[in-house]
């Protein structure tokens, strides 16, 4: 516990250092590109809490991200709440929906949960499309505040908050891995029936993982309206969020907290560089092919290729 707190402190220091470095470059583009990469760090690490540790595939990443985003939009219609409040609210709503969806489908085999998350994304998209309060199918404009104290520009402020969330999700993910929860998760992933038979509270653990994972995705989604400034359902629920958030952990490696982090940083930065030079379709094609290639040829991901998976294989 203490060690985990110490790691969280360390992660915060790294976050602040990264922010200082980005600020030193003094170019707005660095912040715009950095925001996207950080968003994927949060999504990938959060996805891995359920997908990598417990082995339950969530195809509805975009649904939870959009839940956070539209919670922000809905709140903003009442009053101009500060962004951190919106992020917490987005995390809360996404977490609750994750808990509910998990409660209904996690008793079934993993494949049904995976299909249900796909279904959840479409149902939510239809609801949002027909809900005019948050813009409906026409979309909604989110005007960034012109000036923000201390940070100056709003994008720097958003990047800073995203760095904090990224530090949080990485620390939580690492803490889980080292706790008895992590052991329970691994037991479920390896053999759920055997885990249940030996007294692992499988449903409760799965619900905890689903809720945590969804909550972090929701938190990452709350600033999205202000990042894109114009949000509409088909972009908020874009399938590429799901593809990237699944590809990054599987490419990085799913068994340790730094796997998805590595995958998200590499793939995220590569995509930011690539979007300048090649079309976004080819960009996504490469991500898809990498995903297929890695699941077939390198099931342990990059950290497996690099021999970093550790010796905890036979716990």
């Amino acid at each position: 516990m203490l060690a985990s707190l110490r790691f969280f402190g360390f992660a915060l220091v790294v976050a602040v250092a990264v922010f200082a470095a980005m600020h030193a470059v003094g170019n707005d583009y660095v912040f715009y590109a950095g925001y996207t990469v950080l968003q994927y760090v949060v999504l990938a690490v959060a996805w891995n809490i359920l997908g990598g540790y417990v082995g339950y595939v969530n195809f509805g990443v975009a649904a939870f991200l959009a839940l956070g985003a539209y919670t922000g939009v809905a709140l903003g219609n009442f009053a101009p709440f500060p962004l951190p409040v919106m992020m917490l609210a987005g995390g809360l709503v996404a977490g609750l929906v994750g808990l509910g969806a998990g409660y209904l489908t996690l008793r079934l085999r993993g494949i049904f949960f995976a299909i249900a998350t796909l279904a959840l994304a479409v149902v939510l998209q239809t609801l949002i499309t027909n809900w005019d309060f948050v813009g409906g199918s026409a979309g909604v404009y989110a005007i960034r505040p012109k000036h923000i104290p201390v940070f100056g520009s709003y994008i720097e402020y958003m990047v800073f908050l995203m760095l904090l969330v990224a530090a949080g999700v990485v620390a939580v993910s690492r803490a889980i891995e080292r706790s008895s929860y992590g052991l329970g998760f691994t037991a479920i992933r390896d053999d759920e029936v055997a885990a249940e038979a030996t007294g692992v509270p499988t449903l409760r653990l799965k619900l905890i993982a689903t809720t945590l994972s969804a909550a972090f995705m929701g938190m990452a989604g709350a600033p999205l309206p202000y990042y894109v400034t114009f949000l509409e359902p088909s972009s908020a629920f874009n399938l590429s969020y799901a593809v990237n958030s699944i590809a990054m952990p599987l490419i990085g490696g799913t068994t340790a907290w730094f796997g998805p982090l590595l995958g998200a940083l590499l793939l995220g930065v590569a995509q930011q560089v690539a979007t300048v030079t090649i079309s976004s379709e080819i960009n996504l094609l490469i991500v898809g092919l990498l995903l297929i290639g890695f699941v077939i040829l390198a099931p342990q991901g990059l950290i497996g290729l690099l021999g970093l998976t550790g010796k905890r294989r036979s716990v």
């Binding site: 082995g55 995976a114 796909l118 279904a119 479409v122 149902v123 094609l285 092919l289 995903l291 099931p299």
Partner: protein, 290 residues
């Protein structure tokens, strides 16, 4: 108020549409229900089949239905190799749950992007003349572009059902779905049987794709609308039962159409997935499950 003719037209059109959904879902019922392979790329294969038929239609002025005759065996071969790859990379390692799913998800996504790069995102349609013909029976319209996919899907289902129930190989496939180990003890090779069945499921997807081209204009992402339908139907139909698939599909078609009329077309996509969510929570064994 709602007139009788509007209502009866909606129900008939829903029946026809649902019959076509059964054709799309038939392959998934085999792969998901019988073989336990969650091929979420199945609708993507259907769309790919539709584009193959479209390309044949454009290049050689081949009728979409005639194109199906060429597309189906090619897709059988594609399915054969896809299963081979799937088996060696995932099933044999006992690693088929998470990575296998991610594999099919990647396939679906790559397929979609390839179609966008090749054909663009515009809607494409075939140039068959009969698609604009409509028969009338009293106040009820029977547009041929809906009747042909309905009949074609029925042919697909009946043929697949006959293969599974009447032929030796078909019955062996049903056996594999029940107990692969027992089958191995009888001297049969479960992997070979599953390969045939999976190839068949992809071949059916190709044939359904040609029918899709008859039914409506196609675009690369259209397959996503079918994921919910296909799996809702496969689960609701009782996992692996083709007659069950047909009944579930027709029900879904009618409910979708009625929703469009009563609540507006923008609500229709949620019907299939809502249907699926309710089925999974309330009755995961399907309507006709044990």
């Amino acid at each position: 108020m709602l007139s009788f003719s509007l209502l009866s037209n909606a129900i008939v059109s829903g029946l026809l549409l649902g019959g076509f959904y059964a054709g799309v879902a038939a392959g998934a019922t085999i792969s998901f229900g019988l073989l336990d392979i969650a091929n979420i790329a199945h609708p993507a294969f259907v769309v790919f089949g539709a584009y193959c038929a479209f390309a044949l239609n454009q290049r050689f002025h081949l009728d979409p239905l005639l194109a199906a005759v060429f597309v189906t065996p090619v897709f059988y071969a594609v399915g054969w190799f896809a299963y081979q790859l799937y088996h060696h990379a995932f099933e044999r390692r006992g690693d088929d749950s998470m990575r296998g799913l991610a594999f099919f998800f990647g396939l679906m996504f790559v397929g979609e992007v390839v179609l966008i790069l090749t054909f663009g995102v515009d809607y494409r349609y075939s140039s068959a003349e009969y698609t604009s013909t409509t028969f009338k029976l009293g106040p009820v319209a029977f547009p041929l572009r809906e009747v042909i996919p309905f009949v074609g899907s029925l042919v697909i289902l009946v043929a697949a059902q006959a293969f599974l129930k009447r032929t030796f190989t078909g019955r062996a496939i049903l056996g594999v779905s029940q107990d692969p180990i027992a089958l191995r003890l009888m001297g049969a090779d479960p992997v070979r049987l599953k390969r045939i069945a999976f190839a068949l499921s992809i071949a059916l997807a190709g044939a359904a794709g040609a029918l899709l081209l008859v039914l409506e204009p196609i675009e690369p992402a259209i397959g996503r609308d079918f994921i919910g339908r296909v799996f809702a139907i496969a689960v609701l139909g009782g996992m692996g039962s083709l007659p069950g698939t047909w009944v579930a599909a027709v029900m879904l078609g009618v409910i979708e159409n009625l929703t469009s009329i009563f609540a507006g077309a923008s609500w229709a996509p949620a019907v299939a997935f809502g249907f699926l969510l309710v089925t999974l929570t309330v009755r995961p064994s399907g309507l006709f499950g044990r």
